[in-house]
């Protein structure tokens, strides 16, 4: 992250996730904010805890045919198809801007083989501006990706191989909710060496056009995000925290339908140490800054020192 002599960090918000420093505990989620230049001027990066790039794959991917999104009640179905410029162009064209960003940068990595994940992660590890790799094993739109994200044995293996290839960057593993028991996957990721867990990714969903009898999406199904999934995301964060992450001391970045400070607080209480805003950026790109300010106020109002005091404080008797 490029250092700036601007306003000092708010001690109520400063967060450290297993060695990953965040100015505030509010990040942007992968796939909703491009590679950085797109939101410059709309979102003040100096007041953002962390920026997560769009997924990078080893080879360039053109993505799915239209339509790629459809609005549904309280949310959005997307089937972009991991469209991205590929590793080579990412390094040449996108990294220079990331180097200038005054916030912690996480690069989301997707792939369809262990080799792919390792190759991309290792290449990114060479660039100090990349503070963390976020392993995307949970995109529901790519047939192969689903395999890693739903099989604990395969997940542990790919995480372990990526972890071995990293000498500097932190390893975040992003979990899919399209599984029977997310705690099993969380355990596998931690066993493989994940330092931070982020959850959840989108749920597989369908939307149908009753005029044409066709799906709205070119890919037929897509990933559901937005306010509709918040209760589901909270359940998953709570479960992973209680069953696995708390005792393993692995911090969680919670996400899924966050639109305001209250939503973020819910995720902290459920077990998150940081939160990410994704789909809601399309509605209000300044939300991560507003939410951070709201969290600071809440922390003071509750007589606490830092947001970390909220993590996992859900009272379940």
């Amino acid at each position: 992250m490029a250092l700036t002599a601007d306003a000092p960090d708010d001690p109520r918000l400063v967060t450290n996730l297993a060695g990953l420093p965040l100015r505030t505990p509010v990040l942007t989620a992968s796939g909703t904010c491009g590679y950085g230049p797109e939101y410059a001027g709309l979102l003040d990066y100096r007041r953002l805890g962390g920026f997560t790039t769009k997924s990078v794959t080893r080879q360039e991917r053109t993505g799915n045919p239209p339509e790629r999104i459809v609005e549904v009640r309280a949310g959005l179905l997307n089937a972009i198809g991991l469209a991205n410029v590929g590793l080579e162009r990412f390094l040449a064209e996108k990294v220079p801007f990331l180097r200038t960003m005054p916030t912690t940068v996480l690069v989301n990595v997707a792939g369809h083989s262990t080799d792919d994940y390792v190759a991309v992660a290792a290449a990114l590890d060479e660039h100090p501006c990349v503070a963390a790799i976020e392993l995307n094993v949970s995109c529901p739109n790519v047939a192969d990706g689903l395999m890693f994200g739903t099989d604990p044995v395969l997940l542990r293996q790919v995480v372990a191989e990526v972890r071995q290839a990293l000498r500097r960057a932190r390893l975040v593993v992003k979990l899919s909710p399209n599984v029977t028991n997310i705690a099993d996957l969380a355990r596998a990721a931690i066993d493989g060496g994940a330092e931070v867990l982020s959850l959840i990714n989108t749920y597989v969903g369908l939307s149908v056009d009753v005029r044409t009898w066709c799906p709205h999406l070119g890919n037929v199904t897509g990933g559901l995000s937005g306010p509709a999934i918040k209760p589901l995301a909270l359940y998953n964060v709570h479960r992973v925290y209680r069953e696995v992450a708390r005792d393993a001391r692995v911090p969680i970045i919670g996400m899924g339908g966050i639109q305001n400070t209250n939503d973020a607080i819910e995720f902290f209480l459920a077990g998150a140490s940081a939160v990410a805003v994704g789909t809601a950026l399309f509605v209000d790109p300044t939300l991560p800054v507003k939410i951070a300010a709201g969290l600071a106020e809440y922390v003071t109002a509750r007589g606490l020192d830092n947001v970390a005091a909220l993590t996992g404080q859900l009272r379940t008797g």
């Binding site: 904010c33 797109e38 993505g63 790629r68 306010p227 209000d284």
Partner: protein
């Protein structure tokens, strides 16, 4: 003073509504005062949030004194539309206190546009813009024909003002709609029924360009489609002057028909397209359209309507089947 977040090229801001009035059946013209609105071009658009601004908290309202709340009350509709909606800039002028005046014209087709149609003066709406790539104005010797269908007409109104301000004289408008009551413009006089262009449409900025009006049902102007009017215009020209530049905006079928026709007639053409959008600023990669690209093995690549467009040159665009409009 509303908080203005942005650079020279884009801003997101809560802006006051100056007017929201019907302009024809199903269409409203909404005028906004936007402080700090950056320089903009015809063909560009804004993204409007079609619900109450401010934190996205649940809406609580008092039970009305006179009975049950109505499902069509704006405050109850506000929790439904999620994504912003994109609208071409239909006009821009200097507002009295130094802010830019902006007009958008919305056709009520769903819950977002229904919310917009209920706006009243002094309400606020959250706006991001200007976004996208606008029309390229050709050199002074090139005649211009502005071809608009229905709710595709608004960006051409802004273009007409800009052309007038630039002193362009050889400009003709061809505006079509299903019927007279669905034309989102004011007629200053009766349009010709034989395809003759005459000054009959109120254009912004006192531009007085001749217009041909077409309606599918013949209720105003020439019965038929805008392509019939374009053919008539071209015949009357009898090859005089440089090949014209057609700037078109409207339904997809109209755009393809105009593209095909301009190719046949040897005219140049720019198309302002419409796509389903998510973020509107080039990050979600949803609003894709195929464009020719000789550098790709397949000869095409995906472009984004929100940043590479919404205006494309006719020869760049391929239809969704990967085939160029014939």
């Amino acid at each position: 003073m509303p908080e203005v977040v942005g650079t020279e090229t884009r801003c997101a801001v809560d802006v006051p509504v100056l007017r929201c009035d019907p302009i024809c059946r199903d269409h409203v013209a909404i005028d906004l005062a936007v402080p700090g609105f950056p320089a903009s071009e015809p063909g560009q658009f804004v993204q409007l949030r079609c619900c109450e601004s401010g934190p996205t908290e649940p809406i609580e309202a008092d039970w009305p004194a006179d009975g049950f709340p109505s499902i069509s009350d704006r405050q109850f509709a506000s929790s439904q539309p999620f994504l912003r909606r994109p609208f071409s800039i239909a006009d821009r002028w200097q507002h009295s206190d130094g802010a830019a005046g902006l007009r958008i014209i919305s056709r009520t087709v769903g819950m977002g546009t229904r919310w917009l149609a209920h706006l009243r003066p002094t309400d606020t709406v959250n706006l991001t813009g200007p976004l996208g790539r606008g029309f390229a104005i050709p050199p002074p010797d090139v005649p211009l024909v502005l071809v608009g269908g229905g709710v595709g007409i608004p960006p051409l109104l802004y273009l007409a003002r800009r052309l007038h301000e630039a002193g362009r004289t050889d400009v003709t408008a061809i505006f079509g709609a299903a019927s007279r009551d669905l034309l989102p413009v004011r007629l200053s006089s009766e349009p010709a029924t034989d395809g003759t262009a005459r000054v009959c449409v109120d254009l912004p900025g006192a531009a007085r360009y001749p217009a041909i009006v077409t309606t599918d049902d013949g209720s105003a102007g020439l019965p038929g489609m805008v392509t019939a009017a374009l053919r008539a215009w071209h015949s009357r020209r009898a090859g005089r002057g440089a090949p014209a530049m057609v700037c078109a905006c409207g339904p997809q079928a109209m755009l393809w028909a105009v593209a095909q026709q301009t190719r046949q007639l040897g005219l140049r053409c720019q198309l302002c397209i419409e796509r389903v959008m998510g973020c509107g600023i080039g990050t979600c990669l949803s609003c894709v359209v195929r464009v020719r690209d000789a550098n790709q093995a397949a000869g095409w690549r995906w472009a984004l309507a929100c940043t590479d467009g919404p205006v494309f040159s006719r020869d760049e665009l391929l239809d969704d089947g990967g085939k160029a409009p014939a």
